[in-house]
């Protein structure tokens, strides 16, 4: 962990630049914020930055070839790329509801990857948007 970091707060449009000093890894000073929400945000972001992961997953037998997914909780920021790789390995099959769990407890973070939209099955009349080249 860095000893000092400048963090742009995103809680409100002011976008204060908050300075967090943490000699030896323990936060000693937080300055530059204009409200308590900003101070909390800066502390959290300094210690344990989290991000929601969202992407698409390939789905077979559906009208569209991909379905959007997200983590139902934010993940540690440094795990985002690895999580993306895990998600990319998945292939689903339509029909699917929104909220379908694609990966449970991804990378042992406690967060699940779930679909955010339904994936309707392609009808026999060939209303598929396209065929994937195999």
């Amino acid at each position: 962990m860095a000893e000092e970091k400048q963090i742009t707060c995103i809680v409100c449009p002011l976008g204060c630049t908050v300075n967090v000093t943490a000699p030896g890894g323990v936060i000693q000073g937080v300055s530059g914020h204009e409200c308590k929400r900003g101070e909390k945000y800066a502390r959290d972001e300094f210690t344990w930055p989290l991000r929601v992961v969202f992407t698409t997953v390939a789905v077979e037998n559906a009208i569209l070839p991909v379905v959007p997914v997200r983590s139902n909780r934010p993940l540690p920021r440094e795990l985002v790329m690895e999580a993306m790789q895990e998600i990319r390995k998945q292939t689903l099959k339509a029909p699917l509801e929104a909220g379908h769990v694609v990966i449970r407890n991804i990378l042992a973070t406690g967060a699940d990857i779930v679909t955010t939209a339904p994936a309707k099955a392609a009808t026999p009349s060939g209303s598929k948007l396209r065929t994937n080249a195999s």
Binding site: T56, V57, P65, V66, R88, L129, R130, T131, N132, A133
Partner: protein
């Protein structure tokens, strides 16, 4: 529902003659307006004709990036071959476009003199027009001109009316000529570049291309910007071709100012000026610049050029603004040195016919050049027996947007794909796109679809229809979507699937 015939650059099957390899009576190099018109004209005869072009689609280069005007020839150099051919060609277009189902309209043009100096030149221009046998050019008073075209600058001093200057869809003209030619037996090979011309004892023997040799006794050089390179293939090097760039803007259909006619500038010693023209599809086109270049590949629009276009046009139509632009493009005029139309059978190389120096009026003159070349070939000894069943008519793709409500309804009920509007700016349906892909010489790229149907030419410039057109092309051609190109090899729209 017919499907595309084959996946491959050419849209016409190749018939190797006996002994392997291809052969033809005539090979035309260059599928721009001139080459295609010649090739189609030749299909009136019992001849095996092959038309080749290095691009992935017909349409040429200069032939599809110009001012889309069918000229009367009023301002051609009098007494020249160009003058003769252009004035002969203009009256042919009504019948031709009706036969070939090509959008064409005789809007007429107003030549607007906005300075005293320009006004002095008008009489001279009328006289020149008469010398060119363009007799219907007449003087207009300032009031008459402004009554016809209220958007012309109040600086107007005098004007000429040129009633038969017309507008056309230049690409559809070439596509229509190619399709009609193909219907009558023409073999079209796109993505086929002439690499050499074989001669023996001063006679043409064949054309070497990247797709093999085509044995032939007659070759027509209609290669436009590359005409000097093709001529060099038979050892002729008495001329050079360099590009003269012309930059254009296309303006939104909803401009608060409208023009019915082509508004032309009076050329002075200093400058040829810039024109404003309605396009056949309802936009306004402004331009062009005239920049001599050495690089035949330089197709960039420039800030300076575009600025020049707007400043120039505003002298005629002051309300024109770059803010109304929906796109810009540039065309490279094949400019020959020495200048002029040079259409002749070579004395040294028997069977080689050069068609060079065609520029600025080439689109117009193309169909007259075609008859002229047919005569040349006849005199050169090519056996030309008229075909009994030559069909001069071609039916274009029915435009959903132009149909009546009843016709639209019937069309959708017959084929639901016509109920699926893909290009919302121009109201082009999936049914039309499929037709554009599946008919002979069909579209294989996004630009090829665009040029045949206008899908992607509207104000959103393909932002909405682009992804859908890509999918339809992929499906109809049976290839993965990421292989679809903008305009042929090297121009893939996408980099790959990501799932």
């Amino acid at each position: 529902m017919h499907k595309a015939v084959q996946a491959g650059p050419s849209n016409s099957s190749l018939h190797p003659a006996g002994g392997g390899g291809m052969s033809a009576d005539v090979v035309v190099i260059g599928a721009g307006a001139v080459g295609t018109a010649i090739a189609r004209e030749l299909t009136r005869f019992e001849l095996e004709v092959v038309l080749i072009d290095k691009n992935e689609d017909v349409g040429g280069d200069a032939s599809k990036s110009n001012s889309a005007i069918i000229h009367t020839g009023y301002d051609a150099p009098p007494g020249t071959l160009e003058s003769r051919l252009v004035t002969a060609a203009n009256p042919m277009y009504d019948k031709l476009c009706e036969e070939l189902d090509v959008p064409f309209r005789r809007t007429g043009a107003i030549l607007a003199a906005v300075t005293g100096e320009q006004n002095e030149l008008l009489n001279g221009i009328i006289q020149k027009a008469h010398k060119n046998n363009v007799d219907d050019v007449r003087m207009l008073s300032r009031e008459q001109a402004l009554a016809l075209e209220p958007e012309i600058s109040a600086d107007l001093k005098g004007a000429l009316l040129i009633p038969r200057e017309s507008i056309i869809d230049p690409f559809l003209l070439v596509v229509a000529l190619a399709e009609n030619g193909a219907e009558n037996g023409l073999r079209v090979m796109t993505a086929t570049k002439a690499l050499g011309i074989k001669t023996e004892n001063g006679k043409v023997k064949g054309v070497l291309t990247n797709r093999g040799e085509i044995r032939t006794r007659f070759v027509i050089n209609a290669a436009g910007l590359h005409g000097d390179e093709v001529a060099a293939m038979v050892g002729l090097s008495d001329f050079k071709v360099h590009p003269r760039k012309g930059q254009f803007y296309i303006l939104d259909k909803n401009t608060p100012y409208k023009i019915e006619r082509i508004i032309l500038p009076v050329p002075t010693k200093l400058t040829k000026g810039k024109l404003a023209s309605p396009t056949i599809h309802g936009n306004i086109l402004i331009g062009p610049t005239a920049e001599d270049l050495s690089d035949k590949e330089d197709k960039a629009v420039t800030a300076q050029g575009l600025k020049e276009v707007v400043e120039g046009v505003r002298m005629l139509v002051p309300k024109v603004s770059a803010r109304d632009a929906i796109t810009q493009y540039c065309g490279l005029r094949p400019t020959r040195t020495p200048e002029g139309y040079f259409i002749e059978a070579s004395g040294e190389v028997k069977g080689y016919v050069g068609v060079t120096g065609i520029r600025s009026t080439g689109l117009t003159a193309s169909i007259a050049i075609a008859s002229y070349v047919v005569d040349i070939l006849d005199k050169a000894g090519l056996d030309m027996r008229p075909k009994k069943d030559f069909n001069p008519r071609r039916i274009g793709i029915k435009k959903f947007a132009d149909l009546s409500w009843k016709e639209r309804d019937a069309l959708i009920r017959k084929n639901p794909r016509y109920g699926h509007v893909i290009c919302r700016c121009e109201n082009v349906t999936e049914g039309e796109i499929i037709e554009a892909i599946c008919r002979p010489l069909g579209a294989r790229s996004v630009d090829a679809v665009k040029r045949r149907l206008r899908a992607g030419m509207g104000r959103c410039q393909g932002g909405f229809c682009g992804p859908r057109v890509v999918e339809i092309l992929a499906r109809e051609l049976g290839v993965p979507a990421f292989e679809i190109t903008k305009r042929g090899q090297g121009s893939r729209i996408l980099s790959g699937p990501n799932r």
